[in-house]
Symmetry: C2
Subunit: 455 residues, 2 copies
């Protein structure tokens, strides 16, 4: 029996085990579920041991981290780390669930349960792929570490610290994460980029207190108007960011990746309908997906000044505030963007107001090396399991742990996910496609073989 045959033969038991895992309400955000989170960690450790790995539950200042290890690939063999999380989002509002969130139910080929796709199902398919190898061949082509955390849904507060303080334990040559979605049903996907972030607060101060807009208006610079005029300098008429130097570090995407992105099953009209806006917009010369995945942004996230209640109040406000954030793409650096933003605002701020720019939060962008051996192996494994070439996708948001792994462990990260659009990851009626769960297991089982072939 090869690993794939093993997975087929054990399909019913594997599903039963997954359902056991999904029944644990390991809600990391709620203190009343702390014991359930701990139980989830123990469950993962037991599952790893059953699969043939050594496993240990590490306590942290927050919820535990589970580390499984199999290191018998032999002298000089590389090590691959698999990351996932066993904690889940809160299930509320409960009355919107069609079946109870912690009583997994299959309907229309979907496994409904809180955590089904985010991320228990995707973590567990890795455990089962490893089990399939160890139970059939008794070995793996590389050393394997499985790291399962219990705080992903509350910001992975202690993870970077854990990786840092367990660098020797976690040293590896590649990281695999399955916590994302395929672009469309039947379309295996490798997530190749994440945008970074530079988040600012801009405070504009004018007069020492609010003034009567009649008695003073016209002779005092209005901080809210000054703020609007500053914000309006951030883009040119083509939607391009007009902060000098902003694009200096932006790397162009290879034409073949852009061409593949343009070929994805996607329509602007469908996207426009999804967001509910009267029309789309953005930087001239790029498609919608390119704008979200490959181009940086400068957005207003919040505005506050003066009187905002009902009706009319004739105040000339003393202060005005904007939250502004830039999504960054490789190789933009949040620190450098902070410098450029501050220099630009200093240049354009009108006299008569004092402007303060505070950098609240920053994160680096990430882009996969699409030519590495791990990626080649993943492409072949996904094709074998899903019957078609995987597509390269991007993500406009951030997944901070990706940067942590790459930075602290210096290993390339492969993001291969088996979710689907509309899976309600943080909403009621979360589901995972059962087909994707099964094919995902097979794909990962193939992946270990492909990684072995590459050696």
């Amino acid at each position: 029996m090869n690993p794939t045959e093993y997975l087929s033969a054990n399909d019913a038991r594997i599903h039963e085990e997954l359902f056991d895992f999904l029944r644990i309400p390991s809600v990391s955000a709620r203190s009343e579920h702390a014991k359930d989170v701990a139980r989830g960690a123990e469950w993962v450790a037991t599952s790893l041991r059953n699969a043939g790995l050594d496993a240990k539950v590490h306590s942290t200042a927050g919820h535990p981290v589970v580390v499984g290890e199999w290191r018998r690939a032999g002298a000089g063999a590389p090590t691959i780390l698999v990351y996932g999380h066993y904690d889940v989002q809160p299930a509320e509002p409960l009355d919107l669930w069609q079946s109870p969130p912690f009583e997994p139910t299959i309907r229309d080929g979907r496994i409904y349960a809180r955590g089904s796709v985010d991320d228990k199902g995707q973590l567990f398919l890795h455990v089962k792929a490893l089990e399939a190898h160890l139970k059939t061949r008794g070995t793996l082509p590389v050393n394997v570490i499985v790291l399962a955390e219990g705080e992903e849904e509350v910001g992975s507060e202690h993870l970077a610290e854990f990786i840092e303080s367990h660098k020797d334990l976690l040293r590896c040559d590649g990281v695999i994460i399955s916590d994302s979605a395929m672009f469309a049903p039947g379309l295996p996907s490798i997530l190749s980029s994440l945008r970074g972030l530079a988040y600012f607060q801009i405070d504009v101060r004018g007069p020492s207190g609010d003034l009567h807009s009649g008695s003073y208006g016209g002779a005092v610079v209005n901080p809210a108007m000054a703020l609007a005029r500053i914000l309006a300098t951030f883009h040119d008429a083509d939607g391009r960011i007009a902060i000098p130097g902003f694009y200096d570090a932006v790397r162009d995407w290879p034409e073949n990746v852009r061409a593949q992105m343009r070929a994805l099953p996607f329509t602007d009209e469908g996207f426009r309908h999804e967001v509910g806006a009267p029309a789309l917009g953005g930087e001239k010369g790029y498609t919608t997906l390119e704008r979200i995945w490959t181009r940086p942004t400068c957005e207003v996230n919040g505005l506050l000044s003066g009187y905002t209640g009902e009706g009319a109040k004739t105040v000339l406000p003393a202060v005005a505030m904007a939250k502004v954030s830039c999504r960054l793409v490789p190789d933009q650096d949040p620190k450098e963007i902070e410098r450029l933003m501050k220099a630009h605002i200093e240049r354009v701020a009108p006299k008569g107001v004092t402007v303060t720019v505070t950098h609240l939060h920053g994160g680096r962008p990430w882009r996969a090396d699409l030519d590495g051996p791990l990626f080649d192996a993943a492409k072949r494994a996904l094709k074998a399991a899903f019957g078609r070439e995987p597509v390269i996708t991007g993500e406009g948001g951030s997944i901070p742990v990706v940067g942590d792994f790459q930075r602290i462990l210096g290993a390339p990260v492969l993001l291969v996910g088996f979710g689907l659009p509309g899976e309600n990851a943080h909403a009621p009626n979360e589901w995972m496609s059962d087909e994707n769960f099964v094919k995902g297991m097979r794909a990962i089982a193939e992946l270990w073989d492909e990684i072995g072939k590459g050696r």
Copy 2:
């Protein structure tokens, strides 16, 4: 004895009476003071009767209106209406008063009490000037109506209605109001203009709900950024309003009035210090006082969009709102400004968002006819009482009753006030200069003589 000698001879009694008036806590905003407000109305009526007028307290849906009349000037004599208010602002916070708000106290030549300058002292000096004429000469050169309302501090809610429904009673050839301030101590002032108002709310709507700024940012038009870009089109680089047609109805001020305004004892540095701004600003080519008194504005009064709490939240907001108001100068019309504003915004609003402009509130600007006989008489009377030529001043805000009188009664309005800068009209420790109270009485007594000479 002439009226001036009468005022001198009765100075002690007049002060005692004023203090009685100031002791009545006629706070129109507080229902617990409703009886005090009614008592204030009766007190004014009695005082008018003692001066030699007929007087009646008219009840309204709110606080009473007192009307005094003296109509024995003879066939064909014109009628002058004196307006004032006997209600006062709340006195709170009480602990900041150096002497009790309703126990008038003279310190350093100032009469400290709630309502001393706003407007009881100024209303009462008119009553005493009339008394001085009627007690010494037994007559007045014109018919006189005194209208004292009790709702000025709560928006004069029922006054326009009262004037409208008592048009015959109140028909007159001129209105005198003393409820404003002199430009500086010793400098008698005629307030010659008020700005109007067109107050808008601008609502910008983009996507149907807030979006994640990572997953969508760059491909969806950001309503907060769109709003900022719209607001930034309202002025050009010289601080001039760039809404097409905005200045079409603006009348230039006569050069001699501008020259007189430039000669007023005023420094930009003093004004800048008063408002506490790092620098002043405004429309190029005009002085600070001209900017406030003679030029229209377009100000942001409020801004609200997205996340405005502490820290960073990566939201692409669905909506953004601005409160924007234009101060208007003669002959701008709020309705026309609404039309221009809406047309401008329609022109500059970017695709991808829906913009709604709502006109919340409008008021016409006002400018006195500086060449009428009432003004000539006032100038001579003020010079006689204060020993120097009065100055012409403006006001950047609005006094809605001025428009009401002019519109409903069709009579020119003379605004001659005896307050002073820093008099704390709506704050603790309100005061009126005793010198101005005394000279104000004399000036108004002179005014009746001057009006008589003009006939």
